[in-house]
Symmetry: C2
Subunit: 355 residues, 2 copies
């Protein structure tokens, strides 16, 4: 068809499977194994259906207010979007507009190169070392922007704030985005650096620690100038991205600090316990600070374990890609789910229980 | 700041005001004056808050199923997004990728040129005639794509399907998008043409006739090839744009055909009645098929009426722009709201009741 000549062709990102069967143990997309805060359920019950006829609050007021209070930032330092994917995509479009390549790790969130391709942004991968850490010197050269996830995914590796600060300080002519999707599971946020560095954007999400992947809420924090450019881009795209339920329910999730702390700690404990059990079985892995473990077995190829687990309705994530093709990314579920996982893993690695 | 050199600067779209006061008559953003279908309220009460911890269904299954049934299209002929703004923006990005200019009317939805600027798409405005109709010959020249709203906004003018078909047929080498945001208020949809023309994309929304502006749901229908390009673009941007409540509540809104028909008819009746009353008062306007009327008064400038109404807490829309600077776009509210509007308008135009 002739009109196809004018189509922008892109290679889409492929998200993890969303199996629809009931009896599944779902450890493949790093969701929270616990429900959202009780106040979210309460608010859902009380929500006024009639008000849905009206456009949502463009200022995202109620949710913004709670986030500003929780993180101690000003409204003009905060940007909210439809999941951190929306926020990151908008940030790529807005800030990575140079002819020089942007820089990010070779093993990382696989959406980064998809956005770069979509917006025709040149990019250059910086190889992680053998232990999956970044080499900070890789980020000391001319560039059109930098994005680093901390902790990194799918590795779980956390880089100290001091190292991140060196990179931010060495790149005052570029915007440095730190994707902190997994920061609430034991890492330390670089948020406190936003007042010191006007080129720093911190991005976080409600999909992991706040148990609201289904609501699609992400946010960015940075100096007011950065944020205002993001707002302009957003208002050039879609004035009302956040629907009314996401604003109201999101606000409730942030209000309950105790519940947030408690579920994050439960997940950290389960992760540390799972590490011990995996090690005993002959798995090795970088020391994850995420809500997942990126593990390789000493004898059995990851692909075989992945397939064997899937046969048992246990979903983990596997990428058939160079350098990571022998690893599984296992999300941290409830202690009970991890028991079932460990039992099945034992079947596979100790008794060759492979179909 | 040095990083600003690499920022993509854009001129954002400015949406209509969302006044927060209670006692306001809001006739400025073409929302539905009636609440969403009763099933929506029901579903909101029953929704499982715990399930919000999981990512939404990427296939948007339940909502897609209802839309396919209602409109008689296949799943592969349907694309769903975060309001029709998201759908249209994605379609601009995907289909308008030529060096030739895209074409659209000079008086139209003011987001079109914003998207064109955002994505660096060349465009050429085609002037409407004195009665605000398009001149179809304007669209018979080489172009990189065409977008026409039908009915047009803010004029309300509806173009016959035959005229639209001539334009579509004359442009088989471009994608022609028909923005049917206001089609449910008496116009005839071009939907039946999608099987005949592979270059035709129809875009509609839940924000007007389906009373769900607060949920942010829009959709496009076209041949499977067009739709698959849109899906690729969407999955390159954000895999999960529709949150779980929008999928579940949206499905309920589509299920209730009776309620939909009934509210649309009520709005049409109120519009026709309002036309008569406006005419009596010395207003003139194109014959609107939208849920609004685009009216100019024979004596009093629109800007003065706009300000006088605002003083009385009645919000209508006004643009201080060439060719339309003497018009007000008045959304159709309930009969009671229109009574208050008419009374206040009388005060202004008959008794010079201007502050």
């Amino acid at each position: 068809m002739k009109w196809e000549e004018n189509v922008r062709r892109v290679e889409p990102y492929i998200p993890g499977e969303q199996p629809k069967e009931a009896n599944v143990i779902k450890l493949n997309t790093n969701e929270c194994p616990y429900p959202p805060a009780p106040g979210v359920r309460e608010k859902l019950r009380q929500m006024d259906a009639d008000s849905l006829r009206l456009y949502p609050d463009t200022s995202i007021g109620e949710l913004a207010k709670e986030l500003c209070t929780y993180y101690g930032v000003l409204p003009e330092q905060l940007f909210i979007g439809v999941g951190s994917d929306d926020v990151l995509s908008m940030a790529f479009l807005t800030f990575f507009h140079s002819d020089k390549p942007i820089l990010f790790p070779d093993i990382t969130y696989s959406f980064y190169d998809v956005w770069a391709e979509l917006y025709r942004i040149p990019y250059e991968l910086q190889p992680l070392d053998d232990r999956f850490f970044i080499r900070k010197e890789d980020y000391f050269k001319p560039n059109g922007g930098i994005i680093i996830p901390n902790p990194n995914a799918p590795t779980g590796v956390f880089e100290e704030v001091g190292i991140m600060e060196e990179i931010i300080a060495a790149n005052r002519e570029s915007v440095v985005i730190i994707d902190e999707a997994y920061i609430d599971f034991g890492g330390e946020s670089c948020l406190r650096l936003i007042d010191k560095y006007d080129n720093l954007l911190i991005v976080q999400t409600f999909s992991k620690s706040r148990a609201m992947a289904g609501m699609r809420i992400g946010f960015a924090m940075g100096n007011p100038k950065l944020i205002s450019y993001l707002q302009d881009a957003k208002f050039s795209f879609n004035s009302y991205t956040m629907n009314t339920p996401s604003i109201l329910l999101g606000a409730e999730a942030v209000k309950d600090k105790e519940y947030f702390k408690e579920t994050s700690e439960k997940i950290i404990n389960t992760r540390e316990n799972t590490k011990l059990r995996l090690k005993e079985m002959g798995f090795s892995f970088p020391d994850s600070k995420g809500n997942f473990i990126f593990a390789a077995h000493e004898k059995i190829p990851a692909k075989e374990i992945f397939t064997a687990l899937k046969e048992k309705n246990i979903f983990v994530r596997y990428w058939d890609k160079p350098r990571i093709g022998n690893y599984l990314r296992i999300s941290i579920g409830t202690p009970e789910e991890m028991d079932v996982l460990i039992e099945n893993l034992k079947g596979v690695v100790e008794h060759g229980d492979i179909y």
